[in-house]
C-alpha cells in the first residue's frame, strides 16, 4: 500500500473542508472495497479522510413517507433495523444478503452506492425503490445516479450524505450469488409503487445496474409471473465472464424476476386474508 496521510474528522463541516482543501483526497467508509483496492495499488490517495467518526452520517430515520439512511449506516444496521424491516422489508433483506457477517459489520450504504460495482446489491434497491441520493450539494435520483460500470453522477469531491427511500406497497429482492465472492451474478429487485411497478437488475448488465422496462410495463398490466412470458433480454447487453455467460445471465434475470413476482403476489395475498 502506498503512503498516505490520514485524518478522522468528527463533523460534516470539517469533512467537507478537508475534502475541498486537499489535492488527492479519498473518503474511507467501511473500507471493504477501498482498502483492498489500495493494497493492489489501484487507488493511491494522498489523503484518506475517514468518515467513521462523523456522527451526522449514521442517522437512520423514518420520514412521513419513507426512510432516510445515512451514508455511514452499515449493512448490518440496515439488515436488522426495525424501521427498515417494517417500512421497506425488501431493503432489509437485501442488506442481510451482502457479503458475509464481517463485511456487513463494516461496509456502508454510501460506500457501496458510490462504488457502483456492477455486481453490488444496493444499486438494484435504489433504482427499483426510486430512491434519492442526497449529497453535500444536491439531490440526485437513482435513475440519474448510476451511470456505467463503477461510474456515478458524483462530481470529484462530492460526498453522499444519505439515501432517501420512499415507501412502496410491496417489494423484494432475489439474488443468484457467485458463491466465492458472494456478489450477485444476477440480482433482481421488484417494487410495487402506487404509480406502477419498477424492476431493477444488478450483476447482469454490461453497463451496470438497469431497469427492465418491458417487464415493468407487462407487470403494470398484470402482476403475475405469466405476464413475463415471451419477454427476453438481449444477451449482447449482458455481462459475460468465467462465472456466467451472457445468454445464461439473460435467462437468469427472466427466471428470478418471475419467481420474485410470484413470491410477492403470494405475500400480499397472505396480508389480505
Amino acid at each position: 500500500m502506498n503512503k498516505f496521510d490520514y485524518v478522522r474528522p468528527t463533523t460534516l463541516a470539517a469533512t467537507l473542508d478537508l475534502l475541498r482543501a486537499s489535492d488527492e483526497p479519498m473518503l474511507l467508509a467501511g473500507g471493504q472495497t477501498l482498502l483492498p483496492t489500495m493494497k493492489q495499488g489501484l487507488a493511491a490517495p494522498e489523503l484518506l479522510i475517514d468518515l467513521n467518526a462523523v456522527s451526522e452520517l449514521v442517522e437512520l430515520s423514518v420520514t412521513g413517507d419513507g426512510i432516510r439512511v445515512g451514508a455511514m449506516c452499515r449493512h448490518a444496521t440496515v439488515a436488522t433495523s426495525g424501521a427498515v424491516r417494517d417500512k421497506i422489508p425488501g431493503l432489509a433483506e437485501l442488506a442481510g444478503m451482502i457479503g458475509d457477517v464481517q463485511v456487513r459489520n463494516r461496509g456502508t450504504i454510501g460506500g457501496s452506492v458510490a462504488n457502483n460495482d456492477p455486481a453490488a446489491d444496493y444499486p438494484a434497491a435504489l433504482l427499483a425503490l426510486d430512491a434519492t441520493i442526497r449529497t453535500d450539494s444536491r439531490d440526485i435520483s437513482a435513475d440519474e445516479f448510476f451511470v456505467d460500470l463503477f461510474e456515478t453522477a458524483l462530481e470529484p469531491g462530492e460526498m453522499i450524505r444519505e439515501v432517501v427511500f420512499p415507501s412502496c406497497r410491496s417489494c423484494g429482492y432475489l439474488k443468484f450469488r457467485q458463491p466465492a465472492s458472494r456478489f450477485a451474478i444476477v440480482g433482481v429487485f421488484v417494487a410495487r409503487h402506487r404509480q406502477g411497478v419498477r424492476v431493477a437488475v444488478t450483476g447482469a448488465g454490461s453497463a451496470g445496474v438497469f431497469r427492465w422496462t418491458e417487464a415493468e410495463a407487462a407487470l403494470d398490466g398484470n402482476f403475475a409471473q405469466q405476464a413475463l412470458t415471451g419477454l427476453a433480454l438481449d444477451p449482447q447487453q449482458m455481462l459475460s465472464d468465467i462465472h456466467a455467460g451472457d445468454t445464461y445471465r439473460a435467462h437468469l434475470v427472466q427466471v428470478l424476476t418471475g419467481r420474485l413476482v410470484e413470491a410477492l403476489g403470494a405475500r400480499s395475498l397472505r396480508v389480505r386474508t
Binding site: 490520514y6 482498502l35 483492498p36 493494497k39 467513521n52 457477517v101 463485511v103 463494516r106
Partner: protein
C-alpha cells in the same frame, strides 16, 4: 507516523504507527500477538477475524489507526488464565480443527455469533453465518457441532 492509543485484550497499548499499517500487521508484527492469522489478505477467508468493540471484523481490512480509543479483542484475549473460553473448550472437545490455521478466526466469529443470537442458534444459522470463514481441512462438520455445543454453555 501517527500516535495510536488503543486497548487490546483489556490492556492499554500506545504506539507510533504508519497510517497504512493494517490492524492485523499491528497485532502480529508490533504487538507479537500472532494468534490472529493472515490467510488471504483479500478479505475472503476470515482467518484474521478479531472483535472491534465486541463486533467481528476482518483485521486485514481495517487500519490500525482506525482503532484509536477503541477496544480490540483477539484470540489471545478469550481465555481466563488457564481456563479456556467455552468456545475454545468446545472446539477442543469436538475436534473442530485439523491444521488449525482457520481456528482463531473461526472462534472469534463464533463467539460474536453466539452473543448476537443470545445462544439461540440452529445448524442452518450457524452454517449461513460462517460464510466469511473458510476452512480447507475439516469440512465444517465438527466446527458446526462445536459452535452449537458452546451456544448451549454460553446461553445467558
Amino acid at each position: 507516523m501517527m500516535r495510536l492509543e488503543t486497548e487490546i485484550n483489556g490492556k492499554p497499548v500506545a504506539a507510533e504507527v504508519e497510517p497504512r499499517m493494517l490492524l492485523v500487521e499491528f497485532l502480529r508484527d508490533q504487538c507479537r500477538l500472532t494468534g490472529t492469522h493472515v490467510g488471504c489478505d483479500t478479505s475472503q477467508c476470515g482467518a484474521c477475524v478479531v472483535h472491534l468493540d465486541g463486533v467481528a471484523v476482518k483485521s486485514c481490512a481495517l487500519l490500525a489507526v482506525q482503532c484509536q480509543s477503541r477496544k480490540v479483542t483477539t484470540i489471545e484475549g478469550l481465555a481466563q488464565g488457564a481456563a479456556l473460553h467455552p468456545m475454545q473448550q468446545a472446539f477442543h472437545e469436538h475436534h473442530a480443527l485439523q491444521c488449525g490455521f482457520c481456528t482463531p478466526g473461526m472462534i472469534m466469529s463464533a463467539v460474536d455469533m453466539v452473543e448476537r443470537h443470545a445462544g439461540d442458534l440452529d445448524e442452518h444459522t450457524v452454517r449461513e453465518e460462517l460464510e466469511g470463514n473458510i476452512c480447507r481441512c475439516t469440512g465444517y462438520e465438527n466446527i458446526v457441532k462445536a459452535i452449537l455445543a458452546a451456544a448451549e454453555t454460553m446461553r445467558p
